[in-house]
Point group: C2
Chain length 333, copies 2
C-alpha cells in the first residue's frame, strides 16, 4: 500500500449557509423543526428567506466544514461535492480552496443553483436548518475520483448526502474503492431524519464491516439503535464498528474502541453564539488526532476544543487559529 496522497478525502454537500438570528416565535410560526435539518423546495426557500432578517453568507456543508477544521489543524485534505456555475458556487469553491483543501470537481452548468442552507439561530444559540439542495444532489459518477479515494488514508462520508439518489450511488462506489485499496471509511450519521429514511442501509453497512469509524450524536445513536438510554445505545454498537464516536452536546463525548470506553467533558465556552457546525468540528478535531496517531483521549479532547471554538461565533467554519488554539489547550502552546 503506497503512502496516502492526502490524509482525509470527503464526499459531502457543497452548501453556502445563509444565517440570521431570529426569535423563537418565528420557528414555531413556520413550523420548522427546532434544532434539526429539513430539506426544502424552491417555494419554501422563498417563503423562509422572505421571513428571515438581514443575513450573512458563510460557506458550509457538513463534511466540508469538517475538512475546513482538519486543514486548519494541519491535516491534508481533498473534497468532492457539486456546486453550480454561479456566484454562490464561486463562493463555496473559493472558501474551500482558500482553506488549503484540494477541490477539483467542475461546477455544474445551468439549473438548479448552488445549494444553500437557510439557518435560523435562536437566542439560545440553537440553529434550525432548512436546506435547498440544488446542484449538490447531482454529483455525477464522473466527479468521483476513485484514484484519489484509493490514495487517501481516510474516506469521510456525510450522512446527509445519503438521501439524494445520485450521491448515494457515488458514495457506495467510493466505499468500494476505499475498501479495495485497504483504506479506512469514516461515516457521520448527520441527522435523525436520515436514519429514519436510511437506517436499514446504515445498519447493513455496519454489519458487513464497511464502516471503520462512525460519528453520531446521542439522538442519532438512539435513532439508529432503538435504545433511548445512551449507554445501552453505545453497548449495542460498540462491538460492531472498530471506532465509535458519539457526541452529546454539553455533556461532552464518548469514544468506544477495542473494548474500551473513553470520555471527554465539553470544553468550556464563554457564550454559545451559534451551534451550527458543532458536530462537524468535533469530527474535525477527532479525525485530526486519529490520522496523526494520537491517543483516543487526545482525539476526543481535540474534538471538544474545535467544537467549542465553532459554537462561540456565527458560522460553521473555524475563525480562530485552530492549530495554535489546540496547542495552547493541550498544554503545548
Amino acid at each position: 500500500m503506497s503512502k496516502p496522497s492526502v490524509q482525509v478525502i470527503a464526499i459531502g454537500n457543497a452548501i453556502v449557509d445563509v444565517m440570521a438570528p431570529c426569535e423563537d416565535e418565528l420557528i414555531e410560526r413556520f413550523g420548522m423543526t427546532r434544532g434539526g435539518m429539513t430539506l426544502i423546495d424552491t417555494d419554501r426557500a422563498h417563503e423562509l428567506y422572505e421571513a428571515m432578517g438581514p443575513a450573512r453568507e458563510i460557506s458550509g456543508g457538513s463534511a466540508a466544514n469538517t475538512l475546513a477544521g482538519l486543514a486548519a489543524l494541519g491535516s491534508s485534505c481533498a473534497f468532492i461535492g457539486q456546486v453550480a456555475d454561479d456566484q454562490l458556487g464561486e463562493v463555496f469553491a473559493h472558501d474551500i480552496r482558500a482553506g488549503g483543501i484540494r477541490f477539483d470537481v467542475a461546477p455544474r452548468a445551468g439549473d438548479p443553483p448552488t445549494a444553500r442552507c437557510l439557518i435560523f439561530v435562536t437566542p439560545d444559540g440553537q440553529r434550525t436548518m432548512n436546506t435547498f439542495l440544488g446542484a449538490s444532489q447531482f454529483l455525477p459518477p464522473a466527479a468521483l475520483d476513485e484514484a484519489a479515494i484509493a490514495d487517501a488514508e481516510v474516506l469521510y462520508l456525510e450522512g446527509y448526502l445519503w438521501d439524494p439518489e445520485e450521491p448515494r450511488a457515488a458514495m457506495r462506489r467510493a466505499i468500494g474503492a476505499a475498501r479495495n485499496a485497504g483504506r479506512k471509511v469514516a461515516f457521520t450519521l448527520s441527522d435523525a431524519f436520515v436514519i429514519q429514511r436510511h437506517g436499514a442501509d446504515f445498519r447493513a453497512m455496519i454489519e458487513t464491516g464497511d464502516i471503520d469509524i462512525l460519528f453520531a450524536n446521542h439522538i442519532e445513536l438512539a435513532a439508529l439503535t432503538g435504545h433511548d438510554d445512551f449507554h445501552a445505545g453505545i453497548d449495542a454498537l460498540k462491538d460492531k464498528v472498530p471506532l465509535l464516536v458519539v457526541t452529546r452536546s454539553e455533556q461532552g463525548a464518548v469514544a468506544a474502541t477495542g473494548g474500551e470506553l473513553f470520555e471527554v467533558p465539553a470544553e468550556p465556552v464563554e457564550r454559545v453564539v451559534d451551534t451550527t457546525g458543532a458536530g462537524d468540528l468535533f469530527a474535525a478535531g477527532f479525525l485530526h488526532g486519529h490520522v496523526n496517531g494520537r491517543p483516543v483521549a487526545e482525539c476526543l479532547r481535540l474534538g471538544a476544543i474545535c467544537a467549542a471554538e465553532v459554537i462561540s461565533h456565527y458560522g460553521a467554519r473555524p475563525e480562530a487559529d485552530l492549530k495554535a488554539l489546540a496547542a495552547a489547550r493541550l498544554g503545548r502552546g
Copy 2:
C-alpha cells in the same frame, strides 16, 4: 410642504462585502492602499480574491449601511441603488428589505454582475477595501424616484457614487428634486480619492448652498479644505454648510452648526475587530438624532454609540439591537 413619507432616502452603491482577515504582509505584497478604498477591475478582482483566505459575505455599501443603522434605530428609510439580476443582487435586496428599508429599484439584467467589495481586515481591525463596482455604476435615470425624493425629509448621498458618470448625473438631479421640494440634502465625502477627483464639484456645491449637512472624516476634511490642521479645516468650512459633522477615529467627532462647536469622545470598545462601516454607522446615529429633533450633542453621542457597535464585529451592518443599545447608553434603558 406635505409630511415626508420617509425620514431619509439615500442614493448609494449596492454592494455585497466579501470579507476576510489577513496579515499586514498581504496588503503590502499586493500594493493595496491600507485603510483606503480602491476601485478595481475584473482581473484585479480575480487576483485579490485568489489571494484572500476563507471569507464571509455581508451586505454593504456606504449609504446602505447608514440606512441599515437608521432603520434599526427606528427611522423610516428608502434606498436607491442598482444591483444585477444575480445571486449577490438577491442577497443585497433581501438584506436591505429585511432591515425594513424600502427598496424598489429593479435588478439590472445581464452583465456586469452585482458590485462586490473585497475587504481585507488586518490584525489591528483596519479594513482595506477593493471595490468592483459592477452593476452599481449603471444606475439609470429611471431608477430615480423624484416623487419619493421630494417626499423624504432628508436626501442622503454617498460620495463614492460621485465617481461613475451615470450615478453622478442621477445625484445632481436628485439634489435638484430635493431642493425644489424644500428638503434637506446630506452628503458624505466617503474617501480622499473621491475628493482628489471631484473636489471642485464638492466645493462648488458647498458654495452654492446645495449641501445642508456634510459628513467627513478628518482626512477628507483636510483633502477638501487643504488644511492639514483639524481645527483650521473646521474653521474653513463651518460657515459654509449649515451642519458640518467630522469624525476623527479614536479621537471622537465634532459637529459645527449655528456658530457653535460640539464635541463627543469615541465610545469605548472592548476590542476593535473590523473598522468597516464605522463612518457609515456614525452618520446613521447622528442622522437618526437629527431627523428626530434631538439636540446636536445627543446626535453626536448616538453616532459614537453606533460606530462603536459596528467596529466590535465583522461587517458594516449593525448586529446588536441598536435601539436598545442607544437607550441603555443614553441612560433611558
